[in-house]
Symmetry: C2
Subunit: 399 residues, 2 copies
């Protein structure tokens, strides 16, 4: 436990202001005064420092729309950006996300085969170099990587990404060496919950769960008591391995009767007769919603009932306000939200069920970009006076 | 998000010092300087204020044991106390716990039948009045209640305590009216995890789970990322209702195939041929450890394997460092810890299993007293300048 001195105090207050405008959008100085309880002159000095560092911009609101003297609007910068990287079995996606929340770019680089870690680093570094030479008026403060697997929180080591076939790959170190930028990595689904929490369906909530269903299985993340819960080493949120049946079907980790073994995108595609490679989440959802074949509905019901067992366990243990479903789980939910609600209600305590709602994710294709960028912004938000906060001094990267 | 001004700063630093000596035991001023990063004169002023308020005591260490000038030892007060109350189906237990951690008293008042909420309040208030007239040199700052049921965090309403048969009982308000003291209430198992976290098997840990097995079922609590996780309304930790089998046995909430339905103290007592009312946790554990009857061992193995399913789910979702088992679950664990470890390992990801250890609770019969008192101390630790922190001005209670 650390005490606080006067330097800490200023850093703390800078952090609070920057976090407010980053997470809640632009705010007037008057709103910042009210929200923080700090006085007007303190707010003025803090905003001035953030502005000098290039982290916020002050804009004068349209005077024709306001009575009285308008208070300037303080907004997080569009020019301070993080690069988001998401390696998958068939593509590397790279995005440019501003501190203001704007996603400036998203580039999907298809790979003919599942990339090795070295290939993913090579491709990502090439795209970063190209982006850096284009974005000369932007300050790139770091790279965030969303990994479909277990990532050790302390150093970004990818312990195990089963679908990519990566084991103990020092991805962060390799990408940092290749780009010269600081790199932070985390599990993709845990970044999904961060993104939905701050900018999506869970905005303002303190207790939520996110489950994502993809071609490579089911992962998730959780926010508990306002804290993004990574667990001891960053592996929390592996809802896919929750036991939901006594069956002998095994999942990617070889565990029998789990959510991932019973509930899968492949089984839905098979019963619909659709090809895996050409069916994205939206196409799957419309096919499920328009099909009137009894076998399709039976498979949907079977999967919804198993999903309910895993969700009910999470409701009993975590008493969340919200469960957000992404990927093919959102498509399943869309077919029959009432069935899922009823099945969860039957397996939970009434008081805990009364607190929770189950909803689809809303950030769509930008979800992981926003989540991975947030990983980079977090260090800056904690300490706007850090090196990363001296964006005025960071030259645009040229490789 | 609130900013910090200079008054907040002093309150924050007082809070840090008081928390350190409360949670980690007595410390010298030199240690406090090192642990907090604050300078010696600031520490001196903060300790002086806490001492004036009666919250800490300064003692001179034994000079014969030290070289050089001894630094005075700062210790949390033995005289500032909270009263802990734990209503159960056959007794009301009341304890007096000091800010220093000492449990001064523990009184178990047996009731012939399961008490109503009004009876529990009447009995507890009577004991509090008696204690107050004895403890004339102590400052009683409040009452913490450990309830075997769901307690609404916002106002201490007991939503549902199934074994006591209480539904929507305003227990905190009734007890506050009867005693004139501030009252805070929470679920017993969530207080158990708080106690083990600060003063027991989980000392210093940020990610732990506690499961307690009692005559009235299985409850639990969790600490996630350093935060005691109550969930949206304080109902988190209901591990007893986790689905672990496809059987039709139902638990106290009417849910089939749950941990509580499959794993129970009554089933162990039945196979041992022991009476429920006269067998405490220690007696159950020795009976299990000394029995060589195959039917006993078969029942223990059956229960350990179902316990493993629930623990594995928690390990996959929460990636904890530690699982603490209390009550009859500790007795089950003592019979064959290796079997439980192996069964959990088979159902979890290797990396997450590698992080966790499974251990018995160590605080024993003082567990809930310490946990319930901590509920009262928490407000004082957050703000030592609050009314509750003016202990010098609180007269001993006389009713």
């Amino acid at each position: 436990m650390q005490g606080t001195n006067h330097d800490d105090l200023r850093r703390h207050n800078l952090s609070i202001i920057l976090r407010l405008v980053h997470r809640s959008g632009a705010a007037s100085r008057a709103q910042l005064t009210r929200l923080t309880g700090l006085n007007r002159s303190t707010i003025g000095a803090l905003v001035a420092e953030l502005s000098e560092r290039g982290l916020v911009e002050e804009r004068t609101p349209d005077p024709t729309k306001l009575a009285g003297r308008p208070s300037p609007i303080v907004a997080a910068s569009d020019r301070v950006v993080a690069i988001a990287v998401n390696p998958e079995i068939d593509a590397i996606t790279v995005g440019v996300v501003a501190l203001s929340g704007v996603v400036h770019r998203r580039i999907r680089f298809a790979t003919p085969t599942s990339p090795t870690a070295a290939e993913a680093v090579h491709i990502a570094a090439g795209i970063v170099a190209e982006l850096s030479s284009e974005l000369t008026e932007y300050s790139i403060i770091g790279i965030g990587v969303a990994v479909p697997g277990l990532v050790q929180a302390s150093d970004g080591l990818v312990r195990n990404a089963p679908h990519l076939g990566w084991v103990d790959e020092p991805l962060s170190d390799l990408l940092a060496a290749a780009t010269g930028l600081p790199v932070v990595a985390a599990n993709d689904a845990s970044l999904g919950v961060t993104a939905e929490r701050y900018f999506g369906a869970g905005a303002g909530m303190t207790d939520l769960i996110y489950l994502n269903g993809g071609s490579s299985g089911i992962g998730g993340g959780l926010v508990v008591g306002g804290v993004a819960a990574g667990g001891r080493a960053g592996y929390a949120g592996e809802f896919g391995h929750t036991r939901v049946s006594g069956s002998s079907h095994t999942d990617s980790a070889g565990i029998a009767g789990t959510l991932e073994a019973e509930v899968s995108r492949d089984a839905l595609l098979a019963v619909l007769g659709l090809p895996s490679s050409e069916t994205d989440a939206d196409a799957l959802q419309s096919a499920l919603l328009t099909s009137d074949h009894p076998a399709v509905r039976a498979e949907v019901n079977r999967q919804l009932d198993f999903l309910a067992v895993a969700l009910a366990g999470a409701v009993n243990v975590l008493n969340p306000q919200l469960i957000v479903l992404g990927g093919f789980l959102a498509a399943l939910h869309a077919v029959d939200p009432d069935r899922l609600d009823r099945a969860v209600a039957a397996l939970t305590l009434d008081a805990a069920f009364a607190d929770v709602s189950i909803r689809p994710a809303i950030l769509g294709s930008n979800l992981l970009m926003i989540g991975a960028a947030e990983l980079v912004f977090e260090a800056l938000l904690l300490d706007p006076q850090s090196d990363r906060g001296n964006t005025a001094a960071i030259l645009p990267l040229t490789l």
